[in-house]
């Protein structure tokens, strides 16, 4: 079991390296890809701008705290846009051109190979660096120290958020094995990602409950931010640690069901 995990980690390192090398062949694309991500970043920061210019608290959070929220959002977006999103949204292309079949015959987790093949380190770096900088500035302005336990806890919740994000986005994309063209589902769910652009408190009690427990969008970025701002309750902490396991399990089930359908219905 451990050997398998190590094997997959080693292969992931190789894949990242191969992706970087491949992207270096298309320098213009690499640069414009980062420009595009910067464009998205500007829009995200606009929300912070509005908060600062309005000069007031958003649902009890000061503009600096909002900066920490949005910074966390940007950081986790690095995982979304740089690590797993493009694989999930390209699944239908993979299935349609037949390349998916070859992946199925390899002695390695199909889900792993299909969902982590590609990565874009440029985009990942832009988002993670910008995000961390925003969080650091926000925390510095608020004052208070950032000690090791707090940083580690933040990292844990960021990782948990990324995992939940992966699982949540894999679930609808598993439909690619039933309805081959999932590009519109991709577009729809992609638009949901931005729900995290504002602190989850603004969505009201019902919205928050749904977004935390039913479709845990807010676990992805609001949780780490709440934690590092010292505003996290114990129930949320427990849920924040349990949710990734639960939803990764659900995503795995959906994936396997999709594969079963693919191999039975053909295509």
């Amino acid at each position: 079991m451990i050997r398998e995990i190590i094997k997959h980690l080693r292969i992931y390192a190789m894949l990242v390296r191969m992706n970087v090398m491949s992207q270096m062949e298309y320098r213009a694309n690499f640069v414009t890809g980062m420009l595009m991500e910067l464009g998205y970043l500007v829009v995200k920061i606009l929300y912070v701008l509005v908060a600062f210019r309005a000069g007031r608290r958003i649902a009890g959070f000061s503009p600096d705290e909002v900066l920490v929220f949005v910074g966390t959002f940007v950081l986790v977006t690095g995982f979304y846009a740089g690590v797993f999103m493009m694989n999930l949204f390209q699944l239908s292309t993979l299935v349609r051109d037949g390349s998916f079949d070859a992946l199925m015959t390899k002695p390695i987790s199909l889900q792993f190979l299909a969902t982590f093949r590609r990565s874009d380190i440029g985009i990942f770096l832009i988002d993670s660096v910008a995000g961390i900088v925003m969080v650091a500035i926000g925390l510095a302005r608020i004052g208070g120290s950032l000690d090791v336990p707090r940083t580690m806890g933040y990292a844990v919740f960021v990782a948990s958020g990324a995992a939940v994000g992966y699982a949540l986005y894999l679930i609808p994309q598993s439909l690619v094995f039933r309805i081959v063209n999932t590009s519109s589902i991709a577009e729809l769910t992609d638009s949901f990602w931005d729900f995290n652009n504002v602190p989850m408190i603004v969505y009201g009690k019902v919205g928050r409950a749904i977004g935390v427990f039913v479709i845990p969008m807010f676990v992805i970025t609001s949780f780490p931010a709440l934690f590092v701002l010292g505003r996290m309750t114990v129930p949320y902490m427990i849920w924040g640690l349990a949710a990734p396991f639960l939803f990764l399990g659900i995503a795995r089930l959906c994936w396997r069901s999709g594969i079963r359908h693919y191999t039975s219905a053909g295509g």
């Binding site: 420009l35 829009v43 210019r53 729809l188 504002v198």
Partner: protein
């Protein structure tokens, strides 16, 4: 004359058919316009103090919500996508076909665009009608008949302008090979500059003054503010005049870029 109409009619039909085929896709596409509205409405709701009638960036709460809803719908209405197909035509040399055909490439692209738009427009206009009713009944922002007509006129301008803007953006494909991300980056910046995310007022008075001079405002912000009755009657004519000037300027730019691009295409190939 009838021949020409028939040719353009076919282009229209191609766009229409394509849109119907992807029925579910297109329904989802409309749905994904809802998310930003929800997010921004939640943001504004938490920013404005309830029931105080205060203004932020020159908007009352009701006006800001109205702006958010309508701007998002208009943004969806006027958006393009043909620049990618244009780029594919340049890349694969498919442009050759159109150089020989009697129907000009520009005309072809424009009418396919309008054809695709007419299916999407149908539903979006229904949504807009519902939104207008909401504005009227719930938010207390009445929409006069005159405003509705002005809005419709501004929409035509918006379609043309957006087509022209993205046509010019698409022309970059003649000079740059790896263009996909550039289009997306341009689209985001243009939408922001058009007031599609937040009204241009959030950028501050100086920035807003500058942005108001540019053509982008007329694709989203101007139609939206017309419908919400935020443009003083005396200013409407002047604003339309500026938009016409921009249509002229962009058409000239589009032609210039096309000639330069085509020359390069013929010489260099794709």
């Amino acid at each position: 004359m009838g021949d020409v109409a028939a040719k353009y009619g076919r282009s229209f039909s191609i766009g229409l058919r394509g849109a119907i085929e992807y029925r579910l896709n297109f329904a989802f596409s409309i749905l994904s316009a809802v998310s930003p509205v929800v997010i921004q409405t939640a943001l504004w709701t938490s920013l404005y103090s309830p029931g105080s009638g205060e203004t932020l960036f020159g908007f009352t709460y009701a006006q800001m919500i109205a702006y958010t809803v309508v701007a998002n719908l208009v943004s969806r209405l006027v958006r393009t996508g043909f620049e990618y197909e244009l780029n594919t035509d340049i890349r694969t040399g498919g442009l050759d076909r159109y150089l020989v055909k009697p129907i000009g490439y520009f005309g072809f692209r424009l009418f396919v665009f309008l054809g695709t738009k007419s299916t999407q427009t149908g539903l979006t206009l229904v949504l807009l009608a519902i939104a207008t009713w909401v504005l009227n009944a719930v938010l207390g922002i009445p929409v006069s008949v005159a405003a509705a007509f002005a809005f419709a006129a501004s929409l035509v301008v918006a379609f043309l302008l957006n087509f022209l803007i993205f046509w010019c953006v698409g022309m970059a494909g003649f000079w740059l090979t790896e263009i996909g991300f550039l289009f997306e980056a341009a689209r985001i910046v243009i939408i922001t500059a058009s007031g599609g995310i937040f009204p241009l007022a959030v950028f501050g008075p100086t920035a807003q003054a500058a942005l108001n001079m540019l053509p982008f405002r007329f694709t989203i912000q101007f139609p939206t503010e017309l419908l919400c009755g935020r443009i003083p009657t005396g200013q409407i004519a002047a604003d339309f005049a500026l938009s016409f000037v921009w249509i002229g300027v962009l058409t000239a730019l589009a032609r210039a870029l096309w000639s330069a691009g085509i020359r390069r295409f013929a010489a260099v190939g794709s």
